[in-house]
Protein backbone atom coordinates (compact mmCIF):
# COMPACT_ATOMS: atom_id res chain seq x y z
CA UNK A 1 0.00 0.00 0.00
CA UNK A 2 2.75 2.39 1.03
CA UNK A 3 4.68 1.32 -2.04
CA UNK A 4 1.70 2.12 -4.27
CA UNK A 5 1.31 5.48 -2.60
CA UNK A 6 5.00 6.17 -3.14
CA UNK A 7 4.67 5.24 -6.81
CA UNK A 8 1.56 7.38 -7.17
CA UNK A 9 3.34 10.27 -5.46
CA UNK A 10 6.39 9.78 -7.67
CA UNK A 11 4.20 9.89 -10.77
CA UNK A 12 2.41 12.94 -9.46
CA UNK A 13 5.62 14.82 -8.68
CA UNK A 14 7.25 13.72 -11.91
CA UNK A 15 4.27 15.26 -13.65
CA UNK A 16 4.65 18.62 -11.97
CA UNK A 17 7.71 19.93 -13.83
CA UNK A 18 5.94 19.19 -17.10
CA UNK A 19 2.90 21.15 -15.97
CA UNK A 20 5.01 24.04 -14.75
CA UNK A 21 7.18 24.04 -17.84
CA UNK A 22 6.51 27.08 -19.88
CA UNK A 23 8.52 30.19 -20.23
CA UNK A 24 11.80 29.70 -22.06
CA UNK A 25 14.69 31.41 -20.21
CA UNK A 26 16.02 34.41 -22.18
CA UNK A 27 19.39 32.83 -22.96
CA UNK A 28 17.75 29.59 -24.15
CA UNK A 29 15.68 31.37 -26.80
CA UNK A 30 16.41 30.36 -30.37
CA UNK A 31 15.31 31.75 -33.67
CA UNK A 32 13.56 29.42 -36.10
CA UNK A 33 16.75 29.79 -38.15
CA UNK A 34 18.59 27.48 -35.75
CA UNK A 35 16.09 24.68 -36.37
CA UNK A 36 16.62 24.74 -40.15
CA UNK A 37 18.91 22.59 -42.26
CA UNK A 38 22.14 23.95 -43.78
CA UNK A 39 20.60 24.39 -47.27
CA UNK A 40 17.74 26.54 -46.06
CA UNK A 41 20.09 28.57 -43.86
CA UNK A 42 22.38 29.19 -46.84
CA UNK A 43 19.36 30.34 -48.84
CA UNK A 44 18.48 32.92 -46.19
CA UNK A 45 22.07 34.08 -45.68
CA UNK A 46 22.76 34.98 -49.32
CA UNK A 47 20.72 37.97 -50.43
CA UNK A 48 20.94 36.87 -54.05
CA UNK A 49 19.41 33.47 -53.29
CA UNK A 50 16.86 34.67 -50.73
CA UNK A 51 13.54 35.01 -52.59
CA UNK A 52 12.33 37.32 -49.81
CA UNK A 53 14.70 39.92 -51.22
CA UNK A 54 12.64 40.03 -54.42
CA UNK A 55 9.77 41.35 -52.32
CA UNK A 56 12.05 43.83 -50.56
CA UNK A 57 13.12 45.17 -53.97
CA UNK A 58 9.50 45.52 -55.08
CA UNK A 59 8.70 47.21 -51.76
CA UNK A 60 11.42 49.77 -52.39
CA UNK A 61 9.80 50.64 -55.72
CA UNK A 62 6.40 51.02 -54.02
CA UNK A 63 7.96 53.15 -51.27
CA UNK A 64 8.88 55.74 -53.90
CA UNK A 65 5.66 55.52 -55.90
CA UNK A 66 3.14 58.36 -55.50
CA UNK A 67 -0.35 57.12 -54.75
CA UNK A 68 -3.80 58.19 -53.52
CA UNK A 69 -5.58 61.49 -54.02
CA UNK A 70 -2.88 63.25 -51.95
CA UNK A 71 -0.43 62.12 -54.66
CA UNK A 72 2.27 61.42 -52.09
CA UNK A 73 4.71 58.54 -51.81
CA UNK A 74 5.95 57.03 -48.55
CA UNK A 75 9.33 58.61 -49.32
CA UNK A 76 7.78 62.10 -49.60
CA UNK A 77 7.15 62.11 -45.83
CA UNK A 78 9.56 59.49 -44.50
CA UNK A 79 12.53 60.16 -46.77
CA UNK A 80 15.21 57.52 -47.01
CA UNK A 81 13.88 54.37 -45.39
CA UNK A 82 17.42 53.23 -44.58
CA UNK A 83 17.55 55.80 -41.80
CA UNK A 84 13.90 56.69 -41.13
CA UNK A 85 12.65 53.09 -40.89
CA UNK A 86 15.64 51.66 -39.06
CA UNK A 87 14.43 49.82 -35.96
CA UNK A 88 10.77 50.63 -36.60
CA UNK A 89 9.59 47.09 -37.32
CA UNK A 90 11.45 45.89 -34.21
CA UNK A 91 9.00 47.79 -31.99
CA UNK A 92 5.77 46.73 -33.74
CA UNK A 93 2.92 46.04 -32.93
CA UNK A 94 2.95 49.52 -31.38
CA UNK A 95 0.34 51.51 -29.48
CA UNK A 96 -1.80 53.85 -31.56
CA UNK A 97 -3.08 56.82 -29.58
CA UNK A 98 -6.09 57.57 -31.78
CA UNK A 99 -7.32 53.97 -31.75
CA UNK A 100 -6.23 53.35 -28.14
CA UNK A 101 -4.98 49.88 -29.07
CA UNK A 102 -1.90 48.28 -30.62
CA UNK A 103 -1.59 48.14 -34.41
CA UNK A 104 0.62 45.86 -36.49
CA UNK A 105 3.09 47.16 -39.05
CA UNK A 106 0.69 46.22 -41.86
CA UNK A 107 -2.12 48.13 -40.14
CA UNK A 108 0.18 51.13 -39.63
CA UNK A 109 1.01 51.15 -43.35
CA UNK A 110 -2.70 51.10 -44.16
CA UNK A 111 -3.43 53.85 -41.62
CA UNK A 112 -0.76 55.93 -43.32
CA UNK A 113 -2.35 55.19 -46.68
CA UNK A 114 -5.84 56.24 -45.61
CA UNK A 115 -4.88 59.22 -43.43
CA UNK A 116 -1.95 60.74 -45.29
CA UNK A 117 -1.98 59.41 -48.83
CA UNK A 118 -5.79 59.33 -49.06
CA UNK A 119 -5.49 55.98 -50.78
CA UNK A 120 -7.48 52.80 -50.31
CA UNK A 121 -6.07 50.41 -47.71
CA UNK A 122 -4.30 47.37 -49.15
CA UNK A 123 -5.97 44.01 -48.44
CA UNK A 124 -4.26 41.76 -45.88
CA UNK A 125 -1.71 39.36 -47.47
CA UNK A 126 -1.87 41.17 -50.80
CA UNK A 127 1.44 41.37 -52.60
CA UNK A 128 1.68 45.15 -52.16
CA UNK A 129 1.22 45.18 -48.38
CA UNK A 130 3.71 42.31 -48.00
CA UNK A 131 6.36 43.98 -50.17
CA UNK A 132 5.97 47.27 -48.30
CA UNK A 133 6.16 45.70 -44.86
CA UNK A 134 9.08 43.50 -45.98
CA UNK A 135 10.92 46.57 -47.21
CA UNK A 136 10.26 48.46 -43.97
CA UNK A 137 11.08 45.49 -41.73
CA UNK A 138 14.24 44.76 -43.73
CA UNK A 139 15.62 48.11 -42.52
CA UNK A 140 15.61 46.60 -38.99
CA UNK A 141 17.55 43.47 -39.91
CA UNK A 142 20.07 42.72 -37.17
CA UNK A 143 18.40 45.14 -34.74
CA UNK A 144 17.14 43.79 -31.41
CA UNK A 145 13.36 43.49 -31.01
CA UNK A 146 11.95 46.08 -28.59
CA UNK A 147 8.20 45.45 -29.02
CA UNK A 148 5.96 45.70 -25.98
CA UNK A 149 8.13 48.11 -23.97
CA UNK A 150 5.45 50.82 -24.02
CA UNK A 151 3.59 50.59 -20.64
CA UNK A 152 0.27 51.35 -22.40
CA UNK A 153 0.67 47.98 -24.15
CA UNK A 154 0.79 45.99 -20.90
CA UNK A 155 -2.90 44.89 -20.91
CA UNK A 156 -2.64 43.81 -24.54
CA UNK A 157 0.57 41.84 -23.93
CA UNK A 158 -1.26 40.12 -21.08
CA UNK A 159 -4.24 39.40 -23.35
CA UNK A 160 -1.85 37.88 -25.88
CA UNK A 161 -0.15 35.79 -23.21
CA UNK A 162 -3.51 34.41 -22.08
CA UNK A 163 -4.38 33.50 -25.68
CA UNK A 164 -0.99 31.85 -26.02
CA UNK A 165 -1.74 29.68 -22.97
CA UNK A 166 -5.37 29.04 -23.95
CA UNK A 167 -6.12 25.55 -25.25
CA UNK A 168 -8.30 25.57 -28.35
CA UNK A 169 -9.59 23.55 -31.27
CA UNK A 170 -10.54 19.90 -31.64
CA UNK A 171 -6.98 18.90 -30.74
CA UNK A 172 -7.30 21.04 -27.60
CA UNK A 173 -3.79 22.46 -27.79
CA UNK A 174 -2.42 25.82 -26.74
CA UNK A 175 0.55 27.48 -28.44
CA UNK A 176 2.58 26.83 -25.30
CA UNK A 177 2.02 23.05 -25.45
CA UNK A 178 4.18 22.79 -28.55
CA UNK A 179 6.33 25.90 -28.61
CA UNK A 180 7.38 26.10 -24.94
CA UNK A 181 7.10 22.51 -23.76
CA UNK A 182 8.06 20.51 -26.84
CA UNK A 183 10.32 22.56 -29.05
CA UNK A 184 13.24 20.68 -30.62
CA UNK A 185 11.04 17.61 -30.99
CA UNK A 186 9.34 16.75 -34.24
CA UNK A 187 5.80 16.91 -35.49
CA UNK A 188 5.24 14.78 -38.60
CA UNK A 189 8.93 15.02 -39.43
CA UNK A 190 9.15 18.79 -39.08
CA UNK A 191 11.00 20.37 -36.17
CA UNK A 192 8.86 22.15 -33.58
CA UNK A 193 10.34 25.61 -33.07
CA UNK A 194 10.04 28.10 -30.23
CA UNK A 195 7.71 30.40 -32.19
CA UNK A 196 10.04 33.41 -32.07
CA UNK A 197 8.71 35.79 -34.73
CA UNK A 198 12.06 37.30 -35.69
CA UNK A 199 11.87 37.25 -39.46
CA UNK A 200 8.39 38.37 -40.52
CA UNK A 201 7.17 38.90 -43.12
CA UNK A 202 9.05 35.79 -44.19
CA UNK A 203 9.32 33.56 -47.22
CA UNK A 204 7.93 30.15 -46.44
CA UNK A 205 8.92 27.46 -48.92
CA UNK A 206 5.63 25.70 -48.26
CA UNK A 207 3.72 28.86 -49.22
CA UNK A 208 6.06 29.62 -52.14
CA UNK A 209 5.61 33.25 -51.24
CA UNK A 210 6.08 35.82 -48.52
CA UNK A 211 3.58 35.76 -45.67
CA UNK A 212 2.79 37.68 -42.51
CA UNK A 213 2.92 36.50 -38.91
CA UNK A 214 -0.90 36.58 -38.93
CA UNK A 215 -0.95 34.08 -41.77
CA UNK A 216 1.41 31.84 -39.81
CA UNK A 217 -0.73 32.12 -36.66
CA UNK A 218 -3.87 31.36 -38.62
CA UNK A 219 -2.35 28.25 -40.18
CA UNK A 220 -1.30 27.03 -36.71
CA UNK A 221 -4.88 27.55 -35.52
CA UNK A 222 -6.24 25.62 -38.48
CA UNK A 223 -3.63 22.96 -37.64
CA UNK A 224 -5.13 22.38 -34.19
CA UNK A 225 -8.55 22.47 -35.85
CA UNK A 226 -9.66 25.69 -34.25
CA UNK A 227 -11.56 28.49 -35.95
CA UNK A 228 -8.83 30.98 -36.92
CA UNK A 229 -9.34 34.65 -36.10
CA UNK A 230 -9.87 36.95 -39.07
CA UNK A 231 -6.92 38.99 -40.33
CA UNK A 232 -6.54 42.12 -38.25
CA UNK A 233 -8.66 40.74 -35.37
CA UNK A 234 -7.67 42.25 -31.98
CA UNK A 235 -6.88 38.73 -30.72
CA UNK A 236 -4.35 38.14 -33.51
CA UNK A 237 -2.75 41.54 -32.89
CA UNK A 238 -2.51 40.75 -29.16
CA UNK A 239 -0.92 37.36 -29.89
CA UNK A 240 1.52 38.98 -32.29
CA UNK A 241 2.37 41.58 -29.67
CA UNK A 242 2.92 38.94 -26.99
CA UNK A 243 5.14 36.87 -29.30
CA UNK A 244 7.21 39.91 -30.27
CA UNK A 245 7.61 40.97 -26.63
CA UNK A 246 8.56 37.37 -25.79
CA UNK A 247 11.32 37.62 -28.40
CA UNK A 248 12.51 41.00 -27.08
CA UNK A 249 16.24 41.40 -27.53
CA UNK A 250 16.51 38.86 -30.35
CA UNK A 251 17.73 40.27 -33.68
CA UNK A 252 15.34 40.81 -36.59
CA UNK A 253 15.99 38.66 -39.69
CA UNK A 254 13.48 40.01 -42.21
CA UNK A 255 13.10 38.61 -44.80
CA UNK A 256 13.71 35.20 -43.23
CA UNK A 257 13.29 31.87 -45.01
CA UNK A 258 11.43 29.05 -43.31
CA UNK A 259 10.54 25.61 -44.61
Amino acid sequence: MILWRAIAAAILFAGIPALLAGEIPPDARRSGYSFMGPDTRAMQDDDTSNPGMLFVLDGETLWRKKTGSADKSCADCHGDARSSMKGVAARYPAFDKALARPVTLDQRINLCRTNHQQATPLPYESRDILTLSAFVAHQSRGIAITAGEDPRLAPFVEQGRKLYLQREGQLNLACTNCHDDNFDKRLAGSPITQAQPTGYPLYRLEWQTLGSLERRLRSCMTGVRAQAYEYGAPELVALELYLMSRARGMPMETPAIRP
Binding site: D46, D47, T48, S49, N50, P51, M53, L54, F55, L57, D58, L205, Q208, T209
Partner: protein
Amino acid sequence: MAALINVPAKAKRGDIIEIRTLTSHIMETGFRHTVEGALVPRDIITSFTCRYNGTEIFRADLFPAIAANPYLSFFTIAKESGKFEFEWTGDNGYSTTASASITVE
Protein backbone atom coordinates in the same frame (compact mmCIF):
# COMPACT_ATOMS: atom_id res chain seq x y z
CA MET B 1 9.49 42.18 -62.14
CA ALA B 2 12.39 42.07 -59.75
CA ALA B 3 15.37 39.84 -60.45
CA LEU B 4 18.49 39.20 -58.40
CA ILE B 5 21.70 38.45 -60.27
CA ASN B 6 25.00 37.40 -58.75
CA VAL B 7 27.95 37.67 -61.14
CA PRO B 8 31.45 38.34 -59.81
CA ALA B 9 32.41 41.94 -60.63
CA LYS B 10 35.98 40.92 -61.46
CA ALA B 11 37.61 37.70 -62.62
CA LYS B 12 40.89 36.49 -64.10
CA ARG B 13 40.90 35.34 -67.71
CA GLY B 14 40.17 31.62 -67.83
CA ASP B 15 38.57 31.52 -64.36
CA ILE B 16 35.49 29.39 -63.89
CA ILE B 17 32.84 31.67 -62.49
CA GLU B 18 29.45 30.93 -60.98
CA ILE B 19 26.40 32.89 -62.07
CA ARG B 20 23.34 32.84 -59.86
CA THR B 21 19.95 34.20 -60.88
CA LEU B 22 16.69 34.51 -59.01
CA THR B 23 13.56 35.97 -60.51
CA SER B 24 10.11 36.79 -59.28
CA HIS B 25 7.35 34.61 -60.74
CA ILE B 26 4.38 32.73 -59.31
CA MET B 27 4.93 29.57 -61.44
CA GLU B 28 1.26 28.56 -61.32
CA THR B 29 1.22 24.90 -62.34
CA GLY B 30 -2.12 24.76 -64.15
CA PHE B 31 -3.10 21.72 -62.10
CA ARG B 32 -4.72 23.52 -59.19
CA HIS B 33 -8.37 24.38 -58.69
CA THR B 34 -10.04 27.22 -56.85
CA VAL B 35 -12.42 26.57 -53.95
CA GLU B 36 -15.27 26.84 -56.48
CA GLY B 37 -13.71 24.09 -58.60
CA ALA B 38 -12.47 26.21 -61.52
CA LEU B 39 -9.06 25.34 -62.93
CA VAL B 40 -6.38 27.95 -62.26
CA PRO B 41 -4.76 28.48 -65.67
CA ARG B 42 -1.10 27.64 -66.10
CA ASP B 43 1.22 30.62 -65.78
CA ILE B 44 4.88 29.66 -65.76
CA ILE B 45 8.23 30.75 -67.12
CA THR B 46 9.03 28.36 -69.96
CA SER B 47 12.50 29.45 -70.99
CA PHE B 48 15.60 31.14 -69.64
CA THR B 49 18.64 32.22 -71.64
CA CYS B 50 21.93 33.85 -70.74
CA ARG B 51 24.08 35.64 -73.32
CA TYR B 52 27.69 36.64 -72.75
CA ASN B 53 28.57 39.55 -75.02
CA GLY B 54 25.85 38.45 -77.41
CA THR B 55 26.71 34.73 -77.48
CA GLU B 56 24.29 32.35 -75.87
CA ILE B 57 26.13 30.41 -73.16
CA PHE B 58 23.26 28.88 -71.19
CA ARG B 59 19.65 28.00 -71.84
CA ALA B 60 17.10 26.22 -69.68
CA ASP B 61 13.55 25.04 -70.26
CA LEU B 62 11.29 25.36 -67.24
CA PHE B 63 8.29 23.19 -66.41
CA PRO B 64 5.25 23.28 -64.08
CA ALA B 65 7.00 21.30 -61.32
CA ILE B 66 9.50 24.12 -60.73
CA ALA B 67 8.84 26.19 -57.60
CA ALA B 68 7.81 29.83 -57.56
CA ASN B 69 10.57 32.43 -57.95
CA PRO B 70 12.92 30.12 -59.88
CA TYR B 71 16.58 30.12 -58.89
CA LEU B 72 19.17 29.02 -61.45
CA SER B 73 22.89 28.70 -60.94
CA PHE B 74 25.41 27.75 -63.62
CA PHE B 75 29.10 28.13 -64.49
CA THR B 76 31.01 29.65 -67.35
CA ILE B 77 34.59 30.60 -68.19
CA ALA B 78 35.50 34.27 -67.91
CA LYS B 79 36.88 35.11 -71.38
CA GLU B 80 36.57 38.85 -71.79
CA SER B 81 35.15 41.91 -70.05
CA GLY B 82 31.60 42.64 -70.98
CA LYS B 83 28.00 42.05 -70.26
CA PHE B 84 25.80 39.12 -69.33
CA GLU B 85 22.24 39.44 -70.52
CA PHE B 86 19.50 37.33 -69.00
CA GLU B 87 16.05 36.75 -70.39
CA TRP B 88 13.09 34.88 -68.97
CA THR B 89 10.09 34.18 -71.19
CA GLY B 90 6.87 32.41 -70.34
CA ASP B 91 3.11 32.01 -70.62
CA ASN B 92 0.82 34.92 -71.50
CA GLY B 93 3.61 36.70 -73.35
CA TYR B 94 5.72 37.03 -70.20
CA SER B 95 9.17 38.40 -70.85
CA THR B 96 11.66 40.04 -68.52
CA THR B 97 15.34 40.86 -68.82
CA ALA B 98 18.28 41.73 -66.59
CA SER B 99 21.96 42.26 -67.12
CA ALA B 100 25.25 42.32 -65.23
CA SER B 101 28.76 43.32 -66.22
CA ILE B 102 32.10 41.73 -65.52
CA THR B 103 35.69 42.95 -65.76
CA VAL B 104 38.13 40.27 -66.88
CA GLU B 105 41.81 40.91 -66.27
